[in-house]
Structures are given as structure tokens and as C-alpha cells.
Amino acid sequence: MVSSLLVEALIDPTRVLRAIYDPSKEIDIFPSTVSSYFSKVFESVDAFQEIPLLDVDHPPESHSPRALVRFRAMVQDTSPSPEMYLSKLEGNKCGGWGIANETVQEGVDYSYADLQECTVVWAVNVPGENRWSIEEIAGTTKGIPEKSHQPSQQHKFPLPDVPHIGVQVKIYDHSTPDSFKSTDIVTFVGILSSEPIHSELDYSTPLEVPTLHVLFSKPEEPSIQGGVIEADSSNIAVLREDLISWIADESLGGDRDAAEWVLLASIAKVQSRNPPILPPSLALTCFPSPSSSPPPPPALSRVMSLLLPLSVTLPLSLPLLNTSTFAPESKNEDLHAGYLQLPAGCIVLVTESGVAEGKLIEKGIMNLKALQDVMSSQSLPYIFPFSQFSFPTDLGFVILAEGKKSAFFQTSITHRLQRSKSKSEDDLYKPPGKIALPPAQTLAQFRKFLSAAKMAKVQVGDAASEYIQNDFVRERQDDKSVSADDLILRMTVARLLALSLHEQEVSVDIWERAKELDRRRKAQLS
């Protein structure tokens, strides 16, 4: 029974939609009926995986019209006004979801009480999502795109020059109004068609864009990717050491402290916005520039993409700063994406090596400011006509700077890279092919390790609290330059350290370890 429902829904969702439509019921509740019906049909993981994917490898063109697809996407633009649609067609037939009258019939009048609203948003595939993560979440996927897809709205994807899918999404169920926010990751399941873009402005020839009529949607649930890690504490410690060694050897010239900082920065996330407990930003300074030109991406970029589900490399250069936009901007009522319109949990690797002497025009300054704002306050201003609004972000930052400090940014943590003598500068920029990969199983363990650490919560025990408080008072008496800010940072580091050890509590021991790590870092700075 269930399976036949499933097959029906997979083959012809439109027919199912018509079939479950009951004109005698209130039209207002039909959308939520649809939503619950289809989510029920695809409740099980297996059933859900049956739904064909819409992604870069399976672009809209590869699907037949009005096919059922699922689209794991980042909400990019929620500014379009809701659209009105006729919810009841002639003959008491189901309207909406792109269903229109099939027959041309004259002289029939419609009741405009049947007009309903649907929310229109623009969604793109998740920017910065690494391939291994896509495959893991979507189930199996083919590696080769069936057709090359030419997105019509390139400006609505945060990362230019990266293949992507952009879809106009129409949501009919309003049981949770305003529930979609920019940069939310949502899996939409719906009927794919092609429709003119819903725009406020009058085009003489409106653009046709892929449009997804949503039957139901699933918000991204934070889950440990790759399942729960099964290991006892000693294994964890070993795994952690292995991970740090691998990061250090393959991407940081053997600097294990640097690798540990990268590890901590990668598992940080916004703990609380009010009071603000934000992820610390990390600058790795004295990071040499590559000798070749154009500058290749650092090996760290590749390493991070292998370890983290979401990572983006932002190679700063004057042309990039002066010409691109980091913050989203609404132009002609169309929200253009900016580099920083990224989903929560994404780690941004900013390289300063491409920056040469030159003039930074106002746009460049604004871009830098936007980047700094996100780093220090985790909020990104979106620019609208006559106003700008800040939207919350949850991004981690690792900055690679050539000098003794970052040229542009104030970071919470600055670590000076201590390259081992045996490693050359070029080693930091070795091509992906030369990076020695750990066994697939170990790599999978690394990923689980990081994902679990990021997910976990950590407490501070009474004893440790007492200890930390007194420790601070002692230090203040020895050295008046120690400030409350230092304590705040150190608390953050201690928490992250505990997370990275998969501990549930910050102990005195961890506190001392965190202090020691921080002390080593500071010693190198001076």
C-alpha cells in the first residue's frame, strides 16, 4: 500500500496532488495537508533517498517537466513579495503548484476569494559544500554531470565562477510563516518546472527560470556526519594526535601548534549570540607567499575541504576586493549574493598572499569592513536601497598572512607559523595530488571526529570555575596588562580544547593545557 503510494508520488506528483485535493474542504488548509501527506509518504530514509536529486550533477535540464525532485539548498533571497495564485480552478479543481487549467473554457468567472498566497524564495545549492559531504548526505551520486548547466542567475550564487544551480522556490504551506531565512539550508521536495522569474519589475521578456513547487521541505538537522564515532577516550586522543599531525605535515609545514589552532577554529561555532560567545577568528602569520604565479591555493585549502563539510577559500587580492562584493546587495529588487553569504558552519580560509601594493577603492574598503564585521560580530550587513540590515552568520575564519600580523584584520587569535626546517615554502602550496591522503577509513574517522566535536556541548564544572576565577585574580595581581578580554578568549579556547578532546567538561587540566597553548602562542609573538 505504502509502496504504491510512493511509486505514484514519484512518477506523477501532480496527479497525486489532484487526487488528494478535496474541494469541499477549506482551501486554506490544503497546502498543509499536501505537506503532511507527502512528508508521510517519504518519511523513511530509504523512501526519501528514492526521490531524484536536483544538484549540480543533476541540473534541471536533466529532469523531465513536472518531475518530483529533492533539492538540498541554501536559501539565498527571501525578499520577493509573496505571489498570489488561484487555489481553486474551474470545476473545483486543484490550483497552485504550477497547475493551470487544462481546458480553455469561455465565460467562466472565478471567485477571487480563492486567491491564495505562496512564498517565493530563491535557493541555490549549498555553497562551499565539499564533495564528500554532498555524497554522504545525498546518498550515492554520479560524479559526472549529465549536462552542463548554465545558471541564468549567476549573480545569486555567493561564489562566482563555481558551477551551481539556482532555483526559484515556491512554497505553498504557510503553517510556519517567515520560516525561511537567508543562508538556511533546507531540503525542498517538490515539482520541478520552468516559469518566468517572479520579479517586481516589469521585464519586456521575463526570464524563464527553473522553479520548484514545494510539496514539503525538511530543514537541515544538525547531525554528526558519518554517524556516531565509536571509540574510547584513548582512541580519541590518538585520533586527535593523528589528525593534528596530518594537518601539520601536509599543509602547515609541520607546525603542530598551528594545526591544533586550525583544529580548534574548525570546530568552533556560535555558542550564544546574547551574551555573545562567538567563534574565535584565527590568523596564521608569517605564512610565506607561494613562489609561483599565479598563486596556487595553499595545501591547507585542500586539507580543509577533505575534512570539513563546508569550507571556502577566499584568495584576497586587490582586484578581487575592488571589484567583487562580499556582502549581499539588492539591486533592482534582486538580491545579489556576496562572497560571505554562506551557510552556518562554513569555514572560510582567507589568503592574503595575493595582495599586492595598490589602491583600495571604497568598494574594497567596504568589503574588508564586511569581512571584519563578520569575524568580530558574526553578522553580515545586507545592503538594500536606503537601508542595510544585518543578518546573523556563523562562519569560522582562518587567515593566512605573510607578515607578522594580518594586513587587514583583527583576529581573536594570532599564531606565528613555525615551519620546520625540513619543509620548503612550496610544501605549503603543494598541489592536491601531492597531499598524502590517510587511508579512507582514517579520513572518515577524522571527519566524524570533527563533526562530533562541533556538535557537542561542553560544560564548565564548579571546581574548574573556582580555579579559573582565582587564577585570573592571581594573574591580574602579577600582571596588570591581563584584561577581562584575555579571560574571555582563554575561556573560549579552553572550551574548544575540551570539545576537541571530546570531553564534556572543562577541567582544571584542560584549562591549564589551554593556557599553555595560549602561552606558547604568545611567546612566539613577542
Binding site: 469561455e106 465565460g107 467562466v108 480563492d114 520552468s194 560567545i277 574571555i488
Partner: protein, 989 residues
């Protein structure tokens, strides 16, 4: 036949302009307007998307011309058996409205009219307001009658309700009523005759009259516009983001038949160019060949503006919505880009036909049909939405727009408009309360009903920051804001409160700024180092479309009616400081860039943080010398707070505890009494109050200002800057904000006193010395020291200067309030004073020989602690004692026994006293305090069981060692010294 109707002289009554032509080239939609020939019944063709949902809708589905055509065809078909019914309700609405217009007189004083309506006539009491307006309309050649919806409500709420609920339906009737009145009172004004000689009387063009409603009780946001609002009369507010040029819109076309040459007049136009469907000449039969006669056709002005949601109306995390507003006739060019406006009118839905005729699947049929209708081939269903709709093989989309009958600047609602302020404030408050859910409302109510709300609010501000109550108090008042005012000359007086926090690096300055930004989602955080004047204020950019320069808002303007937090203010370019200087006082920004000069609104409060010159705050110098800021800019800040990095184990421990707890428990750690959301709601509600000074408060204000001025004149206060009328304004603003915090519309003397205290602490008091009791004691014996001047003394000031104000406040409100906030936690007021503290304290009131000095301070230093407290602390305690005594005296007519008084004090302090040492210390402190108060003529000491006044004798007093023992044999009573003005200031004996 319908066609005959087309050439007959139009019934003048129903000549509504096309109700919408926002998309002239592409849109077709049914018109809601009545057809002149076919009785108004036909107005509500469903195709206009104006579903009224009532029974009559069924009968009134016939629209204008297209409907006419269809009806012709349809009769006998689908709708054939539906008889045409007159909209009897509409008729009666017209009648009632006419009666209302004819009979309405202003019964009370004239209600304020929207500021932007220069053309609203002045009327005097008892006049027939609207009849008078009709005369004026003729005089000034206006065609719009402005109707105050409030008048309607007041006179005929049934009518008001009908108009509100079914505005679009009744609009033609309302206009007919107006036309009747014009016919009656100004019959000559009905017709215009541009080319009189050539036209016969039948072709005299009639004037189009419009009705503009204003002052609707509720203003909605763009987001509130839902399908159920379609066709109702409502007001929406938004910021205009772009405006189209003004275009002529064809209302009624005159056509010449190219076949027979016959003239067809008054072809009503709707949303697209509409030609007659059939030549009226029975022998002609032409359907297609028409020529428009421009000179006899009727046009009106038309403009489309795009509005965007106001920042305050956008739910957090959402993006602003936009909407098209259609303005007609005299309303065009009323709204300019960047203006925040309120539009009154109705929400309409227009089928979006632009998507038809696209390349793509299923298009062949579409194209054919679409072409057919456009070419006007006269085929059935060739026009009108029904026809189009039936073409659709795809889902037809609909566009929404707002058809406005009235537009005015909405600044008035923000509190700028003083004339309508009280009324509107009340409305806003009510409207806000209505928007709350029940638990939210209950919470707000319990907050309103509770005691000491002000000090408790302060405690909930910036809970992550430890201590610094006075800064928090300042922030609360900044969030509340003063009342914006506008003088009769149109000069705006800011209500915003600007605050500057000066302090050592890595103290909590930035945290305050960040708190405000997280608290107010629309606040702007910027660093003086990173911002250029352009970024901070406004930028001039080239409009890509037109090539013209336009003005784009920068951060300051973005925070319009918000707060702009500027970190590292001192690092800001002087030129930029000057630029925001204007914003701070004038609330506008002038920019002169790229050859254009413009003045923009920038009503924003500034919260600045600045580092002292040289990195650390130098207590030996004045505030002015510590901050790299010019005097004019300094004087624009209402309040200055100095935050110092004190090195003290106890403070450090408290800070550490606080930080660790925040990391441990997040929200629960700081556990403020009120959640951020509750606070936000309270503040939004409080801001709807527009407090006014009571006469008594005004007197106090004058007196306080006099004191400040006098102080300034003698130079004794060593002010950071000259006391000018700016500080008077500051004091008013602060008083208003305090009254708002208490959710009252009356500023009482207590509020003024609190404002004065804050101001004094902020501008002068920063440099007050601490009071050293031990020194004082000595000094008491060396009477000669008393008069010494203070100039050149070390400036001692501490961050707990601030603490005491909260106590003041608490006392002001309830005299025996508990001392919730106290300086105890800040024991860094222990500095030893070498100067002559009493005279320093006295310097606040020059001329008075004795002013404050001793006061108890809980100094947690071990054995022999010095009795030193800050001057503020002293003042606090002093007023505490004086007020307590005077209250008791009023009740009993007697003084208070010393031991009782001490017990009372210790009880107050009970919660803060942690051990016996502290208790002893407090005891000693209060004893010394009392003694000093006596010495300074604040109190009189009365000895013996009989309350017999003895001359207060300081010598005697100080001769006795420490207070506790004196009372052994003789009872000592204290009373307030007759010279102390308990109503006025606690610092003036």
C-alpha cells in the same frame, strides 16, 4: 444596447479614474469601477480580484466595458438569469456620506491635519468643515477632498466601518456623494472647458473629483497585506525607494470611427488601452479601426512609487518587502525617494499578464489568444481577465499593488509631529499592545504594575557587563529616547540622547556598544577607524538608469530612528567627527559631493566609545584633557561616562566569576530579571509615551539649570565644557526618557532630579574627589581648612561615581526604597585623599560654605580602613538620610533617634554586608556620616528625651570619640535642618 450607452453623455457621477494602471503596457485587468451606463452594480467584476466574499458579489460580477461585452454575450447564458441589482447598500452609503459631509462641524478644537497637506483649508470651530473645503477646492482649483477618518468615526461609525471594510466597493458611491455636493455648492466647478468654442455642451468635460481619507487609527506594514485586506481602506507605511516619472493616464477616451467617422466618447480605460468594441452607428459595424482623439479624451496624472518596509517593521532575520503604490491626480510627486510615508488606500491584486506570450512550452495557443485580444479583433473574451484567464495553460500569476488615495510623510508618527503627538502616541501604544500575544501582554502588564521598574530595567541592561550601573542607566535612557519636537518654524529638536563612553582599553566599552547592537537589531555598529565620512553618513552615487546622481544612505541614516554605535570615536577623522556633528544636533546630514548638495534625515542616537589620550585615563586631568575631541562635539553628547580599569582583587574576582558564568550557563548565567525580548517590548511600549513637564517639574528644571549655570560661571565645577542651553535640552531629554522608562506621560520633579544627577555626574562630577572621613574628622577640628579651594588638586574619580545615581532614583520614587544597586561591589573608591575634600564637594554649589563631605563607604580593606567614600556616594547617602528623616518628620513631627537611624541604615545595607567587620565599618561610617551632616547643617541634633532643640554643636560632637558610644546616657535625635530644601536638591543646604 450597451453600445448606445457609449455615445450618450456620460453620467458624471461615476467617472472614476481607472483604478489601476500600474503596468500599462502589459496588464489587463477587470476594473472595479462602475460602468456609467450600466448602473454602479456592475462594479465588482471578480476579475479585479476584489473578492468581497459577500453574497452580493455574485450579483455584481459584471464589470465595465469588457464585462459589458461579455454580458451582452452572456445574457441568457451563464449569467443570463441573474437580474441586475442595484447596490442598495452602496446607495445608502452614498447618502450617509453626503449627509456626513454636509453636516459635519468641528465640535472640539481643530484636530491636527497632516503636516504635508498644504492645501488643506483652515477651518474655524463650528464651520461646516467639508462644505468649506469644497469652496476652497474651487478657489484653488483642487479636485481632492480630504476627509479625516476620525471625523467619520466620531460622527457615524457605521458609515466609517462600511467605508473601511468595503472601501473599494463603495468608492464610486462616495465619489458620487462628493459630486452631488459640488453640484449643489459649486455647480460651475463641475466642468472644465479647455476648448470651449469648439465643443458643444454635451462634450464639456467634467472634472474628476477624488476623496482622500487620512488619519486612520491603524497604520499597517507591508507585511500585513494579505488577501483578506484586498479592497479595504487601510493605511500602510514604508520608505519610498524609487519613483517613476509622472505620466498621463488615459481615463476616458474619445474615438473616431475610421469607417463611418462617428465619434464615440467616454470610453472608460482600464489598465490597458481600450477601444470601443463596436461602432454605435447601426449600419457601420466597425470593431477595429479607431482613432483616439487626444484633445477630447480625459487624462489624469499617474505615478508609481516603490516602497520598502520600514526597518522597525521587519521581523528579525527577514528581508524587507517591497510594494508598488499607485498615486494619481494631485497625489503625484508627494512622495520622494528616501521619504518614510504613510499611504492610505486599498490593496489590490492585478493578474500578471506580462508572462504570457513567452517563448516556451504551451505557448502557441497563448500567443494566439494574447494577440487576438491585443489586436482588439473584437472576438469574444478578447479582453478582461476572464478572457485571459481562460487562455492560461499555465498558472497565471498575480501582482499586488496598493492604490493610494492619500499620502503623507510619516515622520509625525515617530513623534516629530508635536501637534498630533499625544493622540498618536496613545494610538501607537494601543496599536502596539494589540500586536502582543497574551503572555507577552501579561508580562508587559506585570512590568508596568511593578514597583521600581526603572532601577530593575537598568539591572537588565547589558547583563553580560559586570557593574557599571550608571552606564547601563544611560543606555536605557538612550533606548527610551527623549521626545522629538518640532518648533513652529519647522525646526526639529532632537529627542535622541547621545552618549560617549570614555575609558581605558579593554574595559567593557565595546561590550556596551555590541550589546546595544544586538539589542536593537537595526542598530549600526561601526568603528571610527574603519569608517569614512562617506560610509558613516551618506554617499552620492550615480543612478545607473538615468545617469543622475542620487543619494544613498550610509550608516548614520540607516540607523534612522535607531542607534549608531561608533567604536574608537577618537580615531575618527576630524572631518568625519564634524560630519556627524551635524547629525547629532540637527538630525540631518548635509552632503556636498559630486556637485550636488543635499540634506538628509539622520535621526539617530550616537553611542560612542573613545579611548583616552595616551591610552590610559589620566585622573589628574580633566575629562576634556583626556579625550581627543573638540569642545563642540563634546557638548553634543548628553552624557559622558568614564570607565576605568581598576586593579582590585575583589573586582577582578567578580569579573572573572561573571565571565566564567557566562561561558558556563550563557543566558541563565546572567539571568537578568527581564529577558531581552521583554525589555524590547517594554521599550517599544514606553517609547509610545510623549511625556510633558508638570509645572512643578518645570520649576525644578529651571532651578537645576540655574545651579549648573551658576556653577559654571564661577568656574568652580571645572566643567568639561561650558554649560549652555544644550545642557538644558539634555536635561529635558533625559527627564523625558526617564518618564518613558516609567511609562508615564508626566515628568515629575523626581525625574528631573534624576536627570540632573546623571547630567551632573556626567559632565562635572566626574572630577569630584572622594570624601575621606578620617581626613574630614581631622578637618572638622581644623576648621580653618574648610575654605580651601580645590583647583589643582588631584582629580580623583572612580567608576562607582555612577553607582549612586541608581539609589538616588530609587529614593526619588519611593523614599524608603531598598538600596538595590549599591557601590558596595565596587570597592575601589578607597583612594586616599590628600586635598581638602569638603570644599571640593562644596564646589558643586559655589557660595555655600558647607556642602557634602562624609559618607559611609564600604571599603573592604582589612583592619584599620580609612573612611573614604566617593563624593557621589556621600551625596547619595546624604540625600538618603535627609529624605528619610524628612519623611518621618512629616508623619510624626519628630526626629529620629540616632540608634534607630543607624539601625535603619544597617537594615538597608543588610544584604550587602557579609561579615562582622563590614557591619562594624558600616556602623562607623553612618555615625560619622551623621556627624558630618550635622556639621554641614543638613541635620540638627536634638538631645534628651524631651525633644528640645539644642544648638548643633560640632565641637561637642567631635569631642566624643566614635558615635556608637555617645548615645549611652543621652538620647540623640536627628532632624532635618530647616535650611535644607528637601524638595529641591539634596546637595544644597
Amino acid at each position: 444596447m450597451d453600445i448606445d450607452g457609449l455615445s450618450s453623455p456620460p453620467a458624471p457621477l461615476s467617472s472614476l479614474p481607472p483604478s489601476s494602471a500600474p503596468f500599462p503596457s502589459t496588464n489587463e485587468r477587470g476594473s472595479p469601477r462602475s460602468n456609467p451606463r450600466s448602473s454602479p452594480v456592475a462594479r465588482r467584476q471578480p476579475a479585479d480580484a476584489l473578492a468581497f466574499g459577500d453574497d452580493e458579489a455574485e450579483e455584481e460580477q459584471e464589470g465595465d466595458e469588457s464585462a459589458v461585452r461579455r454580458r451582452r454575450r452572456a445574457r441568457g447564458q451563464v449569467n443570463g438569469d441573474v437580474p441586475l441589482v442595484k447596490d442598495a447598500v452602496g446607495e445608502s452609503v452614498a447618502e450617509s456620506f453626503e449627509t456626513f459631509l454636509k453636516g459635519f462641524t468641528e465640535e472640539v478644537a481643530l484636530a491636527p491635519t497632516p503636516a504635508s497637506d498644504g492645501d488643506l483649508p483652515e477651518v474655524a470651530d463650528g464651520e461646516l468643515v467639508y462644505i468649506e473645503q469644497i469652496h476652497t477646492m474651487r478657489e484653488y482649483e483642487l479636485t481632492t477632498l480630504y476627509v479625516d477618518y476620525g471625523h467619520l468615526l466620531q460622527k457615524d461609525d457605521v458609515l466609517a466601518d462600511a467605508i473601511q471594510k468595503q472601501y473599494y466597493r463603495f468608492l464610486p458611491y462616495l465619489r458620487r456623494a462628493l459630486l452631488n455636493l459640488v453640484t449643489e455648492f459649486e455647480p460651475d466647478y463641475l466642468k472644465i472647458n479647455p476648448t470651449a468654442a469648439t465643443t458643444d455642451s454635451a462634450n464639456l468635460q467634467s472634472r474628476e473629483f477624488n476623496i482622500a481619507f487620512y488619519h486612520l487609527p491603524l497604520v499597517s506594514g507591508i507585511r500585513d497585506l494579505r488577501t483578506d485586506k484586498i479592497g479595504t481602506l487601510m493605511s500602510i507605511s514604508g520608505t519610498v525607494t524609487r519613483t517613476s516619472e509622472v505620466r498621463p493616464e488615459l481615463l476616458f477616451g474619445s474615438f473616431i470611427c475610421e469607417v463611418c467617422g462617428g465619434l464615440v466618447n467616454e470610453i472608460e480605460q482600464q489598465f490597458k488601452y481600450t477601444e470601443p468594441s463596436l461602432c454605435p452607428n447601426p449600419t457601420c459595424g466597425n470593431r477595429t479601426a479607431w482613432q483616439l482623439q487626444i484633445d477630447t479624451s480625459k487624462f489624469t496624472d499617474w505615478q508609481k512609487v516603490r516602497i520598502q518596509e520600514n526597518p522597525s517593521e521587519i521581523p528579525t532575520g527577514s528581508m524587507p518587502r517591497s510594494l508598488d503604490v499607485i498615486l494619481r491626480s494631485e497625489l503625484v510627486e508627494r512622495a520622494k525617494a528616501g521619504d518614510k510615508c504613510v499611504f492610505t488606500g486599498t490593496f489590490i491584486v492585478v493578474p500578471d499578464v506580462s508572462q504570457l506570450g513567452l517563448p516556451g512550452g504551451n505557448k502557441a495557443e497563448l500567443m494566439r489568444e494574447a494577440n487576438g485580444s491585443n489586436a482588439g479583433t473584437g472576438g469574444v473574451g478578447g479582453s478582461g481577465v476572464t478572457g485571459l484567464k481562460s487562455l492560461g495553460v499555465r498558472d497565471l500569476q498575480y501582482k499586488t499593488a496598493f492604490l493610494a488615495c492619500m499620502v503623507h510623510d510619516s515622520d509625525g508618527r515617530g513623534g516629530t509631529n508635536i501637534r498630533g503627538e499625544e493622540e498618536e502616541g496613545e494610538d501607537d501604544g494601543q496599536a502596539f499592545v494589540r500586536s502582543l500575544t497574551e503572555p507577552e501582554f501579561d508580562e508587559l502588564k506585570s512590568m508596568l504594575d511593578s514597583d521600581h521598574i526603572y532601577s530593575r530595567l537598568v539591572e537588565s541592561i547589558a547583563p553580560t557587563v559586570y557593574g557599571h550601573e550608571i552606564v547601563k542607566k544611560g543606555l536605557l535612557l538612550q533606548l527610551m529616547g527623549g521626545v522629538h519636537k518640532e518648533t513652529k518654524e519647522g525646526m526639529h529638536l532632537r529627542g535622541d540622547i547621545n552618549i560617549c563612553i570614555v575609558g581605558d582599553p579593554s574595559t567593557s566599552k565595546s561590550q556596551f556598544l555590541k550589546y546595544i547592537c544586538s539589542f536593537l537589531p537595526r542598530a549600526v555598529y561601526t568603528s571610527g577607524k574603519a569608517s569614512s565620512a562617506a560610509g558613516l553618513t551618506a554617499a552620492v552615487v550615480k543612478d545607473e538608469e538615468t545617469g543622475d546622481f542620487t543619494i544613498e544612505a550610509g550608516a548614520l541614516m540607516l540607523a534612522d530612528n535607531g542607534i549608531c554605535a561608533i567604536d574608537e570615536f577618537d580615531k575618527m577623522d576630524i572631518s568625519d567627527q564634524v560630519a556627524i556633528h551635524e547629525a547629532m544636533e540637527q538630525q540631518t546630514i548635509s552632503i556636498a559631493k559630486a556637485g550636488i548638495h543635499a540634506t538628509l534625515n539622520a535621526r539617530t542616537s550616537i553611542l560612542a566609545a573613545a579611548n583616552p589620550i595616551g591610552g590610559r585615563y589620566d585622573r589628574k586631568k580633566t575629562l576634556r584633557a583626556n579625550v581627543a575631541m573638540s569642545a563642540p562635539i563634546m557638548s553634543r553628547f548628553d552624557l559622558f561616562f568614564v570607565v576605568l580599569d581598576e586593579c582590585d582583587p575583589k573586582t577582578d574576582l567578580n569579573i572573572a566569576k561573571h565571565i566564567v558564568n557566562v561561558h558556563r550557563f550563557q543566558d541563565e548565567a546572567i539571568n537578568p530579571e527581564f529577558s531581552t525580548e521583554a525589555l524590547q517590548r517594554y521599550i517599544r511600549y514606553a517609547r509610545t509615551f510623549n511625556p510633558k513637564l508638570t509645572p512643578e517639574a518645570a520649576d525644578v528644571l529651571v532651578e537645576k539649570y540655574r545651579i549648573l549655570r551658576q556653577d559654571d560661571a564661577t568656574g568652580a565645577g571645572r566643567n568639561s565644557y561650558r554649560i549652555t542651553v544644550r545642557q538644558l535640552e539634555s536635561m529635558i531629554r533625559l527627564s523625558e526618557a526617564i518618564a518613558r522608562a516609567n511609562c508615564t506621560s508626566e515628568i515629575t520633579p523626581a525625574f528631573v532630579r534624576e536627570a540632573y544627577t546623571l547630567l551632573r555626574q556626567s559632565i562635572i562630577h566626574v572630577e569630584q574627589d572622594d570624601i575621606d572621613f578620617d581626613e574630614e574628622e581631622l578637618e572638622g577640628e581644623r576648621e580653618g581648612d574648610r575654605g580651601r579651594r580645590t583647583a589643582g588638586d588631584d582629580v580623583e574619580e572612580s567608576q562607582d561615581v555612577e553607582m549612586s545615581a541608581a539609589e538616588m532614583e530609587a529614593m526619588d520614587q519611593v523614599e524608603e526604597s531598598s538600596m538595590g544597586i549599591d557601590g558596595l561591589a565596587h570597592p575601589n573608591g578607597t583612594a586616599i585623599q590628600s586635598g581638602s575634600p569638603s570644599s571640593r564637594a562644596g564646589s558643586a554649589v559655589p557660595g555655600s560654605t558647607a556642602a557634602g563631605s562624609p559618607a559611609p563607604v564600604p571599603v573592604p580593606a582589612p583592619p584599620k580602613r580609612r573612611m573614604v567614600i566617593t563624593h557621589d556616594k556621600y551625596l547619595t547617602l546624604q540625600s538618603l538620610v535627609v529624605l528619610h528623616l524628612s519623611a518621618t518628620e512629616r508623619e510624626t513631627g519628630k526626629g529620629i533617634d540616632r540608634d534607630e537611624l543607624i539601625d535603619w541604615y544597617l537594615e538597608l545595607k543588610e544584604s550587602e554586608i557579609q561579615d562582622v567587620d563590614e557591619l562594624e565599618y558600616e556602623k562607623e561610617l553612618i555615625t560619622k556620616m551623621l556627624r558630618k551632616l550635622v556639621k554641614d547643617n543638613y541635620l540638627i541634633e536634638v538631645r534628651g528625651d524631651v525633644q528640645e532643640s539644642l544648638p548643633p554643636s560640632t565641637e561637642e560632637n567631635s569631642a566624643q570619640s566614635s558615635g556608637v558610644q555617645d548615645g549611652e546616657n543621652i538620647r540623640v535625635y536627628y532632624m532635618v535642618h530647616p535650611s535644607v530644601d528637601t524638595e529641591g536638591s539634596s546637595s544644597v543646604p
